[in-house]
Symmetry: C2
Subunit: 133 residues, 2 copies
DNA sequence: GAAGTAGTACGGCGATCGTCAAACTACACT
DNA sequence: AGTGTAGTTTGACGATCGCCGTACTACTTC
């Protein structure tokens, strides 16, 4: 139940889109992504929720739009896990840190995996009542 | 923690093929299987190994044929995790405990998930085994 | 520069995880 | 009966996990 304010208005901030700057974020190379780490990352409800939202929106999202029912530091932790295991890509844009699914890498490495996991999550949500939070 | 102290021998044992008898094992019903638990179970290398072997052999296997590089009690633990999260079905046959993948249940609940996970594991093994300079 | 916003780092806490060894139970076969 | 095989249970251990609050840094805007 994230407050869908749709902060991504491409045309409004098109001329001066903040670029990656300052801090650098470590990402595993595609070849370094390990299946067991991905599965572990996805086995947490919070992180699954993040990944599903990322998939649905299909664009870069800042951490703050997720509004997870945990503290800021815990949110940071979950995003870090997702990034370090190769599930998401993160980049600083001004004061925001944008996250995006590493679909290409994941699909190349593990064909069909992400799709079936996301489909399974959606199916299960439907089965179990479809409402959480 | 049930204190099962009833070694009931209901009827005569079949002399040739040992059947399920004595101890009973708890399995989650199909509807009770949770995606996050399955992903968590699969995120452990030992358990993934078990599941992959079960898939390859495609038949009931006793725990002892796996020969995992861990102790007996740890092996028991891993099989228990796999059973309790609904990934495998186990049954006692004489002195052996046979395990089998719950393919039907998993495929019904999470279509394509197991296939893509197993394919991903195989792919990754190929990657890491062949390009490990 | 100061204030505000977005996210990080640093501990700390309790729970869970993977692991083990030792003692035990259940079954099969002499 | 006794011995052997197969797996369980218990209790422990260190590591990791998910979570928190506090203090901090980086960037934007005033």
């Amino acid at each position: 139940m994230q407050t869908q304010t749709t902060p991504t208005a491409p045309q409004s901030r098109a001329p001066s889109q903040p670029q990656a700057s300052g801090r650098s974020l470590e990402h595993p190379r595609r070849e370094a992504i390990r299946l067991e780490d991905v599965l572990h990352a996805l086995s947490d409800p919070m992180r699954m929720r993040v990944v599903r939202t990322l998939e649905e929106e299909n664009c870069e999202l800042s951490c703050s739009v997720f509004d997870l029912p945990v503290s800021k530091s815990t949110t940071t932790h979950h995003f870090r896990v997702l990034r370090e295991c190769g599930v998401i890509h993160q980049i600083y844009r001004g004061t925001a840190k944008m996250s995006a699914l590493r679909r290409d890498d994941l699909d190349a490495l593990f064909p069909g995996l992400l799709d079936s996991v996301l489909a399974a999550a959606a199916l299960e949500e439907g089965r179990l009542g479809g409402d959480r939070g």
